[in-house]
Amino acid sequence: MVKEEEDSSNRPDNTAFTQQRLPAWQPILSAGIVIPGFVLIGLAFIGIGVGLFLTSRDIQVLEMDYTGADGSSPCSVCYNLADKNCVCTMSFSIDSLIKGPVFFYYGLTNYFQNQRRYGVSRDDKQLYGDTSNFASPNSECAPYQYISNVPIVPCGSVANSMFNDTFELFKNVNGQSLPVPLDGKGIAWWTDYNVKFQNPNVTPLINAFNGTVRPPFWSKNVYELDTTDASNNGFINQDFLVWMRRAALPDFRKLYRRITDGDYSAGLPAGNYSLKIHYNYPVNGFGGKKKVVFSNVSWMGGKNEFLGIAYLVIGSLCVVMSVVMLIVYAKFKFPEDN
């Protein structure tokens, strides 16, 4: 091939790119690759599915509704919240040991934490400890921005509606109620606790909140959420943090406590228990339900049958497909090749 020397400025560059001749790889999904591939994927999926399914089956869950809407529940006296500081007690028994660590969740249904207006009604700057936003909260916080011109801290609907039922768990041993220690640490995301939410850098903490008022629904101030432990008080109170992470769906559960300490580190042993509920949170207005859940978790998290079944189905689908394809190829492809 003779290379032409008389190149002019007009002559297009003879490069692979400009001539659309870049070396290219053509993937060919041939039967030889796809059928074994499908079999492999299918088998792998079935394997994972079996694992997930078994794991999920082993997770023990104890779920109890304590709304009290139907009247038969011990908490029905509190349902209408006629009485402040209403306390009710639910008794239950566990047949076999719930392996530890056991997680204690509370659940709400028909509760739209994912409402848009509700969700934007918060001030992350406040919660980051930025005191400039204490005096003038984000306007999105309305209608919980000011009460008669005094700024609300923490402002907004989300903070205002913080879940305020509290629970105490007792194990009934020989007629005695022994309290089960509940651990309120480690229930919120590490980053929320350490970075995203911060108390204002003021000591004592109460001074930072001068000239502000607590959310109208709250019975105590934010700096009084946990007076026993400074590292769980104010904006970094873990119950508060859990609440502030909005649930994705209207029926949700949130982590309340972990049962890890002392005698219960191995789990909740079989026996009779009573749950003392300080019933404060109203749900009758919107027909919601409240429940508590005791559950242990595995490497995949809480109990969830869906994932295991889905893996099994898809995996077997892949295997079936590969068989179908094998038949199709045997019928159409191979004679052509000969």
């Binding site: 091939m1 400009t18 870049l22 848009r116 859990v242 559960r253 490497w299 969830n304 898809i314």
Partner: protein
């Protein structure tokens, strides 16, 4: 009554409408007192669209007329006004960007047009004012000005020729840039006017401007003192058109009659309207569907919201109190704003970025045409040129190709190929390099001397030298050089070797093949020296000069199709030489001579040469005297002169003896035949539209294989119309009906659609029509006839493999294109041409292609694409067009798909969040999805994808018809993609929904919130959509790899980054560590993998199951590794 009265009232205006009166040189002496100077437009040419002042409003208006831009504007305004889930910036910024870029691009294009206009308008011309030569700018020429034009200049406006420097009061012009005829045409001065134009006192009365180039009617009144005004009639032979070039004449003077936008050239020039591609129309249709989807989604959500809220406790639960303002708002207003909010929330389903990507794809993609080295022509040192990138994909959709002949199919370079004397074939050595197999049957083809009797030979050559109307050009240096350039190099050298250079002479004739014949005779030793006062001089082989008195010229006309001369030789012999088409000569010669020649003639004709037969006859004195008398009498006849002349001609041209035949080739462009064949095999129909004569055009069609030997020709020309005695109208009706019967009704029914390959049908038809007949078809007197004629004509044409339209005015060419364009199924048309006469059809067709030929630059300037040679059309359409179409069609479908499965989960989420317009994804994801995460892979795909390699596309033209009729953007496929998008959207949303039935997804028991939900869905979405494209990619270059894996990596990186920092300017830190937390959950990983695979599973299955049985897939698989190898070898 009323009408008449009105007419009387408006009488003055009416006169102005009919005629215009021009005062030559603005002679004031003629102007009587009540004269109102008529207003004519000035000589300015305006092709630009905007001025500085109206650019902004006009451009904005035009841009917002685009349905998409308008839509985005509305969405933006809604976001500004109403409280919506997303900020106005998310849609405002991209819109602003798009509008600005488009405005800049269009402004620049218009600036270029302004520049071009200025160049024309500021051109310096010389105007005679009171006999003084004054320089003027071209735009200042007024009607009535006397303009002086020098040789090789173009006329600045339409002029009536008053004076020429030539002795015979003529001048020569070429109208190559007007009608494509490059020969010299003779124009005449107005007879009997003063030499001194200063004293000329005259007015011209002529018709109002009209676009027909060949028509002009006018009168000149010449006023002389003490005399009655003389009246001269003016015709087209006196009119010099703007755009034509003065040749072979030193200087002329003429008076401007039409100026500026009223010149015939400007009237033939149609405004450049913006062309829209079929793909764009499809996009708009799809857009409407998606708009409907969007509206119904918003409507459903709004309705359900209020239904849901009507249940007790749902409207305003205690934890989510409304503000006072919300409570006070009117219910219906609330509904309306909710509806708008939903619109805004879902508006991403119609992505502004698609328009940006499509524009980028078109703009960047067009570089591959400019860069293609196959389009580089070493002769003119130029490659292809792209004027509009909007139409790239249209190149892959062409169904009708309209091509000009002169300069496009042919080089317009006649060459004498061979002759046949007394049945013996003579072929000039070296004239044609290829050896023809058929020579053998005639006996050896050798030197001239060994063939037919010397006497016959010389007679034949003398005939060639004498029987013509060629003039010898007074050669100047410059002309010779031009002449040289016109020739193909190789040939030139040959001739230079054969003859000493001083014998080079230029010839001028009305037809280029006459020159070719004279030059042919010159090769064999007989040189025509020129005509001097009725004496023709010939230099014969023995270098003797022979003299012949030219007694009569029996002119050529298209009805007789022959011409003759009667000469008296030096020895006093009277000779009649006649040359003409075989059909007109054969009946007039002795039959025994015919057979020997006929064979050659027919063979040459099928070779595509233009053949002429030459006959002669000796006239006795008496015969001559009789003929002479007859001719003179007929010439002087006042009535029926034409008929009488014809009768005498026919009488004289009888009983001749045939001496031979000639074959002249109008050399085709390189690879013209191959190109045409490829186009036809690709399912395109080729129409030749030319201003040239029918015979010439027909032979070209044969030569480039558009007409084959077995093609049955259906002619609808003036000749066939005048066959019978009946009126043309009736005959037209009859012929149309007959042809329709033959070509349409009797033809075997063919499948409609582009997949048909024309060669398959058993009988080919070719259709020939000329300009006059066409105008009868199109402008038939009665309305009803017109419609039916047009339909008949179209139907006939659609069933013909090739159509030839000859003697077309430029505007008629555009009319034909328009007619086909608007016919049933609105096929995509392409026009290709090289001269200014093709401009109107280039502008009219969906795609206009200019050839960078010799005839100026008008065609190139007005075209959408310009290529140096006709042969480049093949690659442009078959390879580039096919690929562009495939790419952009996939781009469009993919874009709609990916936005549907983007927005569908967000729509479904409304059912779970109380219809509160809660976005599922974070704002950053909403904005970046189309801009960053998924835009680059599809852009790379749409620039680089080669489903079938370029070599195969060129080799197998039939592949082109795969995409015919917008195949990849049909509703069926659109539905498939939409279904796929919906399926993916459902899988994404509900897969994650079921996972979230227990939101404790981490092994530490902690729960995930709504942003984790959205992020999982979004991650699945980004991966699926990108991998779907990866599955579709058949041509993985490193760029594809880089971009596909790169954007996935970028997504991951971005998510870490976005969630890794507390952004001080953000009101909410929604995504803080959401992504990282998600990745710490095994369940999230598993669900992402599961959903991606589940979404792609049907796709993979489809690819696999379709693969072995698709018609071309096997081929693709087989050849691609090959082309890869090719490349390696080349390197």
């Amino acid at each position: 009554m009323l009408r008449r009265g009105l007419n009387r009232l408006l009488g003055v205006d009416e006169r102005r409408v009919d005629n215009r009166t021009i005062y030559i040189g603005h002679q004031s002496s003629l102007v009587n007192e009540d004269f109102i100077p008529p207003k004519f437009c000035d000589n300015r040419i305006v092709s630009s669209k905007y001025t500085v002042w109206n650019f902004l409003p006009k451009n904005l208006f035009e841009q917002f007329r685009r349905i998409a831009n308008f839509y985005f504007l509305i969405i933006f305004l809604v976001q500004v006004i109403v409280d919506t889930p997303t900020s106005p910036v998310t849609s405002g910024l991209p819109l602003f960007f798009v509008i600005t870029v488009t405005a800049i691009k269009q402004g620049y294009e218009d600036w270029l047009r302004h520049k071009a206009d200025r160049e024309v308008n500021k051109y310096q011309v010389t105007v005679l004012e009171n006999g003084q030569e004054t320089p003027k700018e071209s735009e200042n020429i007024k009607v009535g000005d006397i303009v002086q034009v020098k040789e090789n200049e173009t006329f600045p406006c339409d002029l009536i020729l008053l004076q020429s420097t030539r002795d015979d009061d003529t001048c020569f012009v070429t109208t190559a840039s007007l009608d494509g005829e490059s020969n010299h045409k003779t124009h005449y001065t107005v007879p009997d006017i003063e030499r001194d134009l200063k004293s000329l006192n005259a007015t011209i009365e002529c018709e109002q401007p009209q676009p027909d180039l060949y028509k002009f009617n006018g009168r000149m009144h010449i006023y002389k003192t003490n005399q009655d005004p003389a009246v001269r009639s003016l015709g087209p032979e006196n009119l010099l058109l703007k755009g034509a070039t003065l040749k072979n004449t030193q200087k002329i003077c003429g008076v401007a009659v039409y100026t500026g936008m009223e010149t015939k050239m400007a009237l033939n020039y149609q405004g450049k309207s913006q062309k829209r591609s079929a793909v764009e129309k499809s996009i708009n249709a799809f857009l409407l569907v998606y708009l409907c989807i969007l509206l119904s989604k918003a409507l459903v959500c709004t309705t359900l919201k209020y239904v849901w809220q009507s249940k007790p406790g749902q409207d305003e639960p205690w934890y989510n109190k409304k503000t006072q303002k919300e409570k006070d708002t009117n219910l219906y207003l609330k509904m309306f704003t909710d509806f708008l909010s939903f619109m805004v929330l879902f508006n991403f389903i119609i992505p502004v970025s698609m328009y940006v990507t499509v524009e980028m794809q078109k703009f960047l993609g067009s570089f591959f045409i400019t860069w293609d080295k196959d389009f580089f022509d070493p002769e003119i040192q130029e490659g292809a040129l792209v004027n509009t990138s909007d139409l790239n994909e249209e190149l892959g959709q062409v169904e009708y190709v309209f091509t000009d002949k002169t300069g496009t199919l042919t080089q317009n370079n006649m060459e004498f190929i061979e002759c046949c004397i007394d049945g013996f074939q003579y072929k000039h050595r070296g004239a044609s390099s290829e050896l023809d197999g058929f020579c053998v049957t005639d006996g050896p083809v050798n030197k001239l001397q060994q063939k037919a009797g010397r006497e016959k030979e010389e007679l034949f050559l003398r005939a060639l030298c004498l029987c013509h109307t060629v003039q010898v050009k007074e050669s100047t240096e410059q002309d010779q050089r031009e002449d040289n350039l016109d020739q193909v190099d190789g040939l030139r050298i040959d001739e230079n070797v054969l003859q000493p250079p001083q014998k080079e002479r230029g010839f001028i004739a009305s037809s280029p093949d006459e020159i070719a014949l004279v030059k042919g005779a010159m090769r064999y030793g007989f040189t025509f020296l020129g005509l001097e006062s009725k004496t023709m001089k010939i230099l014969n082989r023995n270098k003797d000069v022979e003299m012949y008195d030219l007694l009569h010229v029996l002119n050529f006309d298209p009805v007789r199709r022959r011409m003759s001369v009667i000469v008296r030789s030096g020895s006093g012999e009277m000779l009649l030489f006649c040359k003409g088409a075989d059909s007109s000569i054969f009946p007039r010669v002795r039959q025994e001579e015919v057979e020997r020649i006929r064979l050659h003639v027919e063979r040459n004709a099928t070779e595509g040469y233009r053949t002429l037969c030459v006959a002669y006859k000796r006239l006795s004195e008496e015969e001559y005297a009789q003929a002479d008398a007859g001719l003179r009498e007929a010439r002087l006849a006042l009535q029926d002169r034409e008929e009488k002349l014809l009768a005498v001609y026919n009488q004289v041209e009888t009983g001749m003896s045939l001496i031979g035949a000639t074959a002249v080739e109008d050399r085709l462009q390189e690879e013209a035949a191959e190109t045409m064949e490829a186009l036809q095999r690709a399912g395109m129909k080729v129409w030749v539209l030319t201003g040239d004569k029918m015979e010439t055009a027909k032979s070209t069609c044969y030569a480039c294989g558009l007409f084959q030997r077995k093609t049955e020709l259906l002619e609808l020309t003036v000749r066939t119309l005048e066959d019978g005695e009946r009126k043309r109208e009736e005959r037209l009706h009859e012929l149309l009906g007959e042809y329709h019967k033959r070509a349409v009704q009797d033809a075997p029914p063919v499948k409609a659609g582009g997949t048909r390959v024309c060669f398959a049908s058993n009988q080919d038809y070719g259709f020939i029509i000329d300009g006059a007949s066409l105008s009868m078809v199109l402008n038939s007197s009665s309305e009803s006839n017109m419609r039916s004629y047009k339909d008949l004509f179209l139907q006939i044409c659609q069933n013909c493999t090739a159509v030839l339209c000859c003697r077309m005015a430029p505007l008629q060419k555009a009319q034909i294109v328009k007619m086909v364009k608007s016919s049933k199924g609105s096929p995509i048309t392409l026009s290709i041409g090289d001269g200014a006469n093709d401009v109107s059809m280039i502008l009219e067709a969906h795609v206009g292609i200019g050839i960078k030929g010799k005839e100026g630059r008008q065609a190139v300037r007005n075209s959408d694409y310009a290529i140096p040679k006709l042969k480049h059309l093949k690659k442009l359409l078959l390879a580039h067009g096919h690929l562009y179409y495939h790419r952009i069609a996939h781009l469009v479908q993919y874009f709609f798909y990916k936005n549907l499965c983007f927005i569908l989960p967000q729509f479904l989420y409304q059912f779970f969040c109380g219809y509160s317009q809660q976005p599922l994804y974070d704002a950053a994801y909403l904005t970046m999805y189309n801009i960053c995460f998924t835009s680059m892979p599809i852009l790379a795909y749409s620039l680089l994808e080669q489903r079938i390699s370029i070599e195969d596309l060129i080799e197998d033209a039939a592949l082109y018809s795969e995409n015919a009729k917008n195949a990849m953007l049909r509703w069926g496929l659109f539905l498939y993609w939409t279904g796929l998008g919906a399926f993916h959207g459902l899988v994404f949303f509900f897969g994650v929904r079921f996972l979230f039935s227990n939101p404790a997804l981490q092994d530490n028991g902690q729960v995930f919130g709504n942003w984790s939900y959205g992020t999982i869905v979004f991650t699945v979405l980004v991966f699926t959509v990108t991998l779907k494209l990866a599955l579709d990619t058949r041509h993985w270059t490193w760029i594809n790899h880089f971009v596909i894996w790169g954007s996935l990596a970028f997504y991951v990186f971005f998510s870490f980054f976005w969630g890794g920092i507390i952004w001080p300017f953000m009101k909410q830190q929604r995504l803080y560590f959401v992504f990282a937390n998600m990745l710490s959950s095994v369940s999230a990983w598993l669900v992402i993998i599961l959903l991606i695979l589940l979404s792609l599973l049907p796709e993979i299955l489809l690819v696999v199951l379709r693969n072995p049985r698709g018609p071309y897939t096997r081929k693709i698989a087989a050849v691609t590794p090959l082309s890869y190898k090719h490349l390696n070898e080349q390197k």
